[in-house]
Amino acid sequence: MNLEVDEGEFVVIMGPSGAGKSTLCVSLNGLVPHFFRGKMEGEVRVRGRSTREARVGELAREVGMVFQDFEAQLFSTNVALEVAFGPENFAVDREEIARRVADALEQVHLEGYEDRQPATLSGGEKQRLAIASVLAIAPRILCLDEPTTDLDPVGKMGIFQIARALREREDVTLVVVEHETEETLEADRIVVLSGGRVVADRPAREVLRDVDLLHRARVMPLQVARFFKERGVPREELPLTPEEGAREFRRRGWRVSQDGYGELLATDRSRVARYGEPVVEVEGLCHRYPGGVAALEDVDLTVRRGEFLVVAGQNGSGKTTLVKHFNGLLEPTSGSVRVNGGETRRQGMLELGQKVGYVFQNPDHQIFSDTVFDEVAFGPRVRGMKEGEVRERVEEALAAVGLEGREKEDPFGMTKGERQRVAVASVLSIRPEVLILDEPTTGLDYAEQRSMMDLVKKLNEDGATIIIVTHSMWVTAEYGHRVVVMKEGRVALSGPVREVFAREEMLRSFALRPPHIVSMSNLLGHTVLSVEEMHRVTEAG
């Protein structure tokens, strides 16, 4: 791999899982070769100094590294100490440390948080704290490895604002690994990696226009660019943002066909007509946690059989608390939650678990067996089924998630995407009618996300009722039928995805932004939910 980065540049690194992006990052501050095993050939020079000869501790002064897993990076008992840790290690004197702590916290918009315990911060705040703790060392180069995964839209925007401010203020060199194509417009250059090699290294807008390249690299192309490219517009002319897209659309004299749009609406309606009876009914639900914190206030919701519901909202809005009532993990403080007509209070978790399967966000919080088979067999076995039946169910579940034939493998040897599938299979083996998935796409690259969501869609088409909790707006748009937006424990918005996404102003007040293609279509007066739909309604003038 050959790469050069000039002082003050903002370089984004993209690529599929396993391409070597994280390894590239840790090569910048000497963790490769000093921390990792293996052989390193060639050389990495940071400001003229070879990483082979310097130790990680020395290089840390020059290259600040923020890792993806923000939980694993925070270890102090309060925020100020966390930020002071870096300078302390370099024997910076006390007053200077105090100054740097205040400065760093201000840059990440965490002023006033000095005495808070890191464990009490939200995901976005934790990630900003991790950045602050590295800023306090005042490195000239900052490397961020997927800083926005796991963050809600507000959190994501926050990180990029900080990156922007850093460049303007400090002239810091930024190297950022990122999946979120929509945010990378700001970068100077994008470097695309695949299989450990650099497959493209060009100015950002150029790379973003190369839709085929991004597809091959399993990175989600910008929807607007993809749409225009698929209609034959030459690469140099491809618009990238919704505004650019709408302008170009009109300039070319294209129109949204009323008939085409009407068909979309008709498809929506016929889908709704096929729904069955209500399977989950929530009335006046209130939930208060033991400390007295009110997590849910007066929630009403009905989920019909065959629906695909998305529950959205910021962290702390109550979305996870809400769905945990559906399988009996939580009981209402007041109000009622009925599943299949019966109050959840009266059914035990074993009984409810039979009807409502819940797949948790982190598969590593579930997996404990040393073979895929045993893991998926856990549910049936705990319910006392005979081995023959257990085997049948396991095979069925594994086939459904595309992992047939891998029964004997150790789940921990598999990739994260595969482990997530194992987690889904281990819930499917109980054959529930309703499936709840908490953030099913976190930590997966674009191809893996599509793969997972297509799996979920197929389960829905085969009759399962799906409820997902997610931050991902494009997933909501392309797969969801209906969306419920939670805010501060209440239902703020509810309705078919198409209707909710038409109200961009309102969504923005909940710190949500529709995907680019949806925004573009809104600018053109209609609401389209995916690139495919956009094609279907476009008429060349």
Partner: protein, 290 residues
């Protein structure tokens, strides 16, 4: 003995100590425990961890068990007994990795797992021995201070630890060894051989540990249950001031045997055996911080 000090040079060992301690402390909190004597002790499944930590993480596991137990005391029962708990739990994690290879002959596979029947039996034996030694230290300390009679506390601790270790230990080792190895976190792969003490007389050390541990336990019970009562009363311990000299002094020779025994054991041979495995992971070890 040496590795319990040199390990601190390695970031990963420091981190493993902290994580082990935190896991132990957190899982000891009785979310759902099964009481034997309420307020004093209960079957605590988390007690399986020190054996596993010790075998997989070596000295980091020993320190982790000790610190973890101490932190658990921070949730309500901090007292001088915590010192006894610290030492006892240290040994709970220390003995497994120290004594492990002395059960095997030269040339046998000594990877810290339970892959063969012999290893499974050795594991069981180690669990029993370490549980008794832990009980010896904690019960001795508390009795010498006149807080809790040896016979009561000692038996409870020994049984508690042994049960958790025997019931959950083997399956934990089966599930956790391959993963810890895959992540490169076995202590034998992090620490270099020259920082670990070499075995001096491992078989003798092994035997001494058994004599010291079991012997101390038996003698402690005997004294506590009054077998020597007549003799001591006659010797004039009539005033209320002289407390626990019986157990206090009586157990010291056995505790000394335990320490001496462990000094004779090594650990370096395990590191060297791991080094020979090498393989595609290569010989480069993570950096040593000064």
């Amino acid at each position: 003995m040496r590795e319990i000090f040199t390990m601190w040079r390695h970031t990963q060992m420091v981190v493993l100590t902290a994580l082990s301690a935190a896991i132990y402390a957190a899982t000891l909190i009785p979310t759902q425990f099964l009481p034997i004597i309420p307020g004093f002790t209960n079957v605590r499944p988390a007690n399986v961890f020190p054996f596993v930590f010790g075998l997989l993480f070596g000295p980091a596991g020993a320190w982790g068990a000790a610190i973890g137990n101490l932190i658990n005391d921070f949730f309500g029962t901090l007292g001088p007994g915590s010192i006894g708990g610290f030492i006892g739990n240290f040994f709970l994690g220390y003995i497994p990795y120290k004594i492990w290879s002395s059960f095997f002959r030269r040339g046998e596979d000594i990877e810290p797992n339970v892959a063969t029947r012999k290893k499974l039996l050795v594991f069981g034996a180690i669990v029993v021995l370490a549980s008794i030694v832990c009980a010896d230290w904690i019960a001795w300390f508390n009795d010498a201070l006149g807080l809790v009679p040896f016979a009561a506390l000692g038996s409870i601790i020994a049984v508690n630890n042994a049960l958790a270790g025997l019931i959950l230990g083997p399956i934990f080792m089966v599930l956790l060894y391959p993963r810890v190895k895959r992540w490169g976190l076995l202590w034998t792969e992090i620490m270099p051989a020259d920082e670990v003490s070499a075995p001096r007389l491992p078989r003798l050390g092994n035997v001494l540990l058994w004599i010291g541990g079991v012997g101390g336990f038996v003698v402690g019970l005997a004294i506590g249950l009054g077998v020597y009562d007549q003799g001591f009363a006659a010797a004039g311990f009539a005033s209320g001031g002289a407390q626990g000299i019986g157990i206090g002094a009586g157990l010291v020779p056995f505790l000394i045997l335990i320490v001496v025994g462990s000094l004779l054991l090594g650990g370096r041979e395990q590191v060297e055996a791991a080094g020979e495995e090498g393989g595609e992971l290569g010989p480069v070890r993570p950096s040593r911080v000064r």
